[in-house]
Amino acid sequence: MRSWAVALWIGLWAGALAAPVELKVNLRVGEAPLEWGRVYQTPMGQRYRIDLLKFYISELALVRPDGKEVRVEGLALAEFRRGGPTQGVSVMRFEAPPGEYRGLRFDVGVPRELNHLDAATQELPLGVNSGMYWAWNPGYIFYRLEGTAFLGGKEEKWVVHMGTDAFRIPVRLHDLQMRRVRLEVPPRGTSLVLNLDVGRAFLPGPNGAFLDWQQPRLRQLHGMSPETAMVMAVVYYHMLSAFSLAR
C-alpha cells in the first residue's frame, strides 16, 4: 500500500520534470504542402520534382524565457520518400520539463565528434545502413535532397548532398526580445510542429548565383569542390531560413 503511494508520488514528480514532446515536420514548397510527383518551378523558371529528402537533426535545445536552454540528447534521421507522408511526420521524440519556452534551436547535421568515427562500427541512425554515409568524403551527408529536373524534353536527376563540418546548418527558432515565439509544454506533453520549405534551396543568392540544372556539374552538388562551392554556399544560406514554426 505504502510502496504504491511512493510509486505514484515518484510518477507525479517524474511527470512534472519531464513531459513527452514530439517534434514533427511538414514539408512545404513555398506555403503549400509538398506533393510527391507534382512538378514545381524554381524562381529561375526551371521545372523540377522532389524525389527524396533525408536529414539529420542534432544539438536540439528548448530555450527558456531567461535564455537558458534545456538540451536534448540524441540524434535523429528524418526521412521522406516518394509516396510516404509529408505532413506532421514525427522525426524525434524526447522529454522536456513542462513550462513556457521562447522557442527552440537545433542543427541539421551530425556533431563533429560523431561525424568522423569509423562508420563501419556505428549503428543507426548513423552507420552505412543509414544511406547517409559519404564513401569518398569521410563523414555523413547532413541534408540529402534529390529530385528530377525537366529541361526541355529531357529528365535529369539532380542531388544536393550537403555535408562536411563546415556545412552544418544551425536552425534558430527562438526570440527572447520580441517574444514572437511562445511554446508551451504542458505536463501531459505536446508536439512541436515545424514547416520546412524545401523550395528555398532553389532561390538565387545575393550574388545572383543559383542552382542551375542546365549545367551538368551542378546536378551533383556535394562536398566543397571550388567549382560548385559558390552555389553550395547559396543553398546553405537559404537553408538557414528554410525551417519555421508551424502556427
Binding site: A119, V128, N129, G223, M224
Partner: protein, 339 residues
C-alpha cells in the same frame, strides 16, 4: 575442395616485398633486393573466413546488386584487366550513366591505406558503400539492397551463415571487403627477379628498373615500395587547369586542386587507359608526359620536371612497367566468378 582453393590464396599471406625507400628528395636509390615479409592487414572487426570470402566473391560478380540489375562491381573492375575497366577511360553505371573517372586496378588493394583517387576513404568496408549507392554506378538505397538480397534464398542463407543476420548494405560491404583482400598479386617477372631469378627481367626492363629507382627517373619517390605507391595525393602537372579538381573537391583548398592519390603500378600494362580520367592511352604517352615535366601548374609536385630521357630510355621505362604484370593473377580461379 573449396577450402583447399581458398587456402591456396590466403595462406601465403607472408609475402615478399621491398623495404619502403625514404621519401627524401636526394635519398640514395634503395636496394630492390632488401626483402621484408608482408602480411595482409585484416581489420579485427571483419575477420576473413572461407565462407565470407566466397560470399564476397559471389557478390562482386553479381549484377543484381545494382538498381537496373545490369551492373556488378566486376563490370568496371574486370579480372582480365587486373580488375580495372579495360579500355574505358571512364566507366558506365546503371541506366548507362557515365562517371568521370577511370576505374583503378584492385591489385593488392588490401594494402591501400587510402582509397579512391583523392584517397579519402579509410577502409574497404566503407569504400564499397560508394559504388553500391552512387547514382552513376550501382544506384542502390540501403533498404532496396537489403530487400533484394533477402528475397534471394541462397543469399538469405549465406548472410545468416556468415554474419548471423539478414543481408544489409553493411554486411554486403564487409563481405566484399573480405573478397577484395584476397586480390593478391606477387608473381610478376619483377617479383621473380627480386626473389633471385637473374633471368626474369629483359635487358631493357633491367635498364628501366635502374632509371625508375634513380634520381634521374625519380619515379620511386611517389611510386614507393612493394606496392609502387605512397598512397599520398600528388599533383603531376597533368593539366594547367584540371577539369576534375581532385582532393580540393573535399578540402575546398586551392592548393589541393589537381591532387590525386599515387596509383599502384602493379599490373599497369593491363590497366590502360591511364591517369584519374583515363586521358593517357598508353604507357608510352604517360612516360612522355613525365619526360616533358608535365604542364605548368602551381600545385605540381617539385619532383615533376623535365627529365631529359632519350627515346630509348623511355622505351626502357615502359619495358620495366611491363615487367610488373602478373599473368597468374588474372587467371587465378579463386578470384574469378564461381562455377
Amino acid at each position: 575442395m573449396r577450402v583447399g582453393r581458398w587456402l591456396l590464396v590466403l595462406v601465403p599471406l607472408v609475402l615478399l616485398g621491398l623495404e619502403r625507400p625514404p621519401v627524401l628528395p636526394h635519398a640514395p636509390a634503395p636496394d630492390p633486393r632488401a626483402l621484408v615479409p608482408r602480411v595482409v592487414p585484416i581489420p579485427p572487426d571483419n575477420p576473413q573466413t572461407p565462407a565470407k570470402v566466397e560470399l564476397g566473391r559471389r557478390l562482386f560478380y553479381d549484377p543484381r546488386l545494382s538498381l537496373d540489375g545490369k551492373v556488378a562491381c566486376a563490370s568496371c573492375h574486370r579480372p582480365e584487366f587486373a580488375f580495372s575497366d579495360g579500355g574505358n577511360p571512364v566507366s558506365v553505371g546503371v541506366f548507362g550513366r557515365e562517371g568521370t573517372r577511370n576505374a583503378p586496378t584492385l591489385t593488392n588493394v588490401a594494402f591501400r591505406r587510402r582509397l579512391f583517387w583523392e584517397g579519402r576513404s579509410p577502409r574497404l568496408e566503407l569504400q564499397a558503400v560508394g559504388p553500391l549507392t552512387a547514382h552513376h554506378e550501382m544506384g542502390m538505397e540501403p533498404e532496396a539492397l537489403a530487400r533484394r538480397l533477402s528475397s534471394i534464398p541462397e543469399y538469405a542463407r549465406a548472410f545468416q551463415e556468415v554474419f548471423g543476420e539478414p543481408p544489409s548494405l553493411k554486411n554486403v560491404a564487409f563481405a566484399l571487403a573480405a573478397f577484395e583482400r584476397t586480390l593478391l598479386s606477387y608473381n610478376s617477372p619483377f617479383d621473380r627477379f627480386v626473389a633471385g631469378d637473374d633471368r626474369a627481367l629483359s635487358p631493357a626492363a633491367l635498364r628501366g628498373m635502374e632509371l625508375f629507382f634513380s634520381e634521374r627517373g625519380d619515379c620511386f619517390h611517389c611510386h614507393v615500395g612493394p606496392e609502387f605507391t605512397d598512397d599520398e595525393p600528388r599533383n603531376t602537372g597533368l593539366y594547367t587547369v584540371y577539369p576534375d579538381v581532385g582532393l580540393a573537391r573535399i578540402t575546398g583548398r586551392d592548393e589541393d586542386v589537381g591532387k590525386f592519390k599515387t596509383p599502384t603500378l602493379r599490373n599497369v600494362a593491363l590497366t590502360a587507359p591511364y591517369m584519374h580520367d583515363g586521358s593517357k592511352k598508353t604507357l608510352r604517352e604517360v612516360m612522355e608526359h613525365y619526360n616533358r615535366g608535365g604542364e605548368p601548374n602551381l600545385n605540381a609536385d617539385p619532383l615533376i620536371r623535365p627529365l631529359g630521357l632519350s627515346e630509348s630510355e623511355v622505351d626502357d621505362l615502359v619495358a620495366f612497367l611491363e615487367s610488373l604484370t602478373d599473368a597468374q593473377f588474372i587467371s587465378n580461379p579463386a578470384l574469378l566468378p564461381s562455377r
